[in-house]
Subunit: 211 residues, 2 copies
Amino acid sequence: MGSRERRARQRAETRKMILEAARELFVSVGYEGTTMRAIAERIEYTPTAIYHHFRNKQALLAELCRADLTPLLTAMECIDAVADPVERLRRLCEAYVSFGLTHPMHYQLMFMTRLPKTDDADAIPSDPLENTYRLLCDTCAAVIESGQVHPEFTDPEELAQMLWSAMHGVLALHIVKKEGAKIEWRDPHAAAIRLRDSLLRGLLSGAPATS
Amino acid sequence: MGSRERRARQRAETRKMILEAARELFVSVGYEGTTMRAIAERIEYTPTAIYHHFRNKQALLAELCRADLTPLLTAMECIDAVADPVERLRRLCEAYVSFGLTHPMHYQLMFMTRLPKTDDADAIPSDPLENTYRLLCDTCAAVIESGQVHPEFTDPEELAQMLWSAMHGVLALHIVKKEGAKIEWRDPHAAAIRLRDSLLRGLLSGAPATS
DNA sequence: CAACCGTTCTTAACATCGTTAGGCGTTTTA
DNA sequence: TAAAACGCCTAACGATGTTAAGAACGGTTG
């Protein structure tokens, strides 16, 4: 009678195996470099077997992104408890950068890849992305409301997008940097922190007063 | 006797046709989306013909990058004549962002793509990139030397990389932004300018004095 | 016990990709 | 006029994502 459950359990098991193999390959050789045949071979299945668990290669990627973005989201939600909005902003930036440096290939897949047209629902999941963005926006709004920011900035989303862009720029350049060019790259984490603090100093200067 | 020259001229002609067709396709559908067969069809040749003019697809891309990056380089070299180093830095950033917004696919190809291993010389050309980077570094060095920058910054390359990262972040997010996520993006050019100025305000504040 | 049935995976194939080997026709050279 | 060079094409190879059709396995039912 419990055979139905056992079947479901086994199915979930192989599904997980596929995901893990896919993750390892995506992370090590990238999305384009990963072959369905290679994923299958790693778990000693045929490529066709994968298609009985996932609709196609992009669906595999989407599932992985959905799963692997949650650590970032939870980290950011923890930070949300910090009282001072400026300090909160600082830590949000740091968490974001740390995530990108720890999971560079995930980061690349989620924030640096323009995937081919996906008409249907196997697109890359945008909900966790939106959640992290909302968190950032809310904190920016709090900072503006606290009156500590230069009065020319009144739009929380603009502020959020500026900070996001700056942090993203460090990560994106670090991940994609060409070995060919003879550029002596500075430590990306340190660079991001200094960029963050310099930018914040510029944004916070000129505020009417520290009430 | 002039037949030799005529042959060379004709050869250069078809070579240029290939390049133009490739550029249009790369720009409209991206590198991966472009097919050697599609390039050939557009100029009414067979795919094999391309290989008599270029070693492979990557060599095509490399040639185009080399050619299309020079507008940016010349623009930046013009700006190099501006006397005030801070103003020079401002304009360099603006020129860079404008280039990225005007040629988003070129920008993506050159600064946002990690190409597969290229053992040989058909790699993406790094010399124009290095030249623009040197220009930026030199200006950063001038700004530091002018004593207008916060004393904690003494490394021109670090400064250059921070500014570059910030500008790159705006461009990269703009180019790759997912339509799926419901984020109301601000105008990227305006965002870049405000980001640049805020960052500079933060970098320049706290300088000992304006000698 | 045996026939049936759904689930899970495999075999074989398709279309498309970048790329290459070899040949055909025209033009230049000896 | 024969030969060499050049420019391009036909045909194919191996690899890719993906799909159609069927085989093997286990559980359910007569």
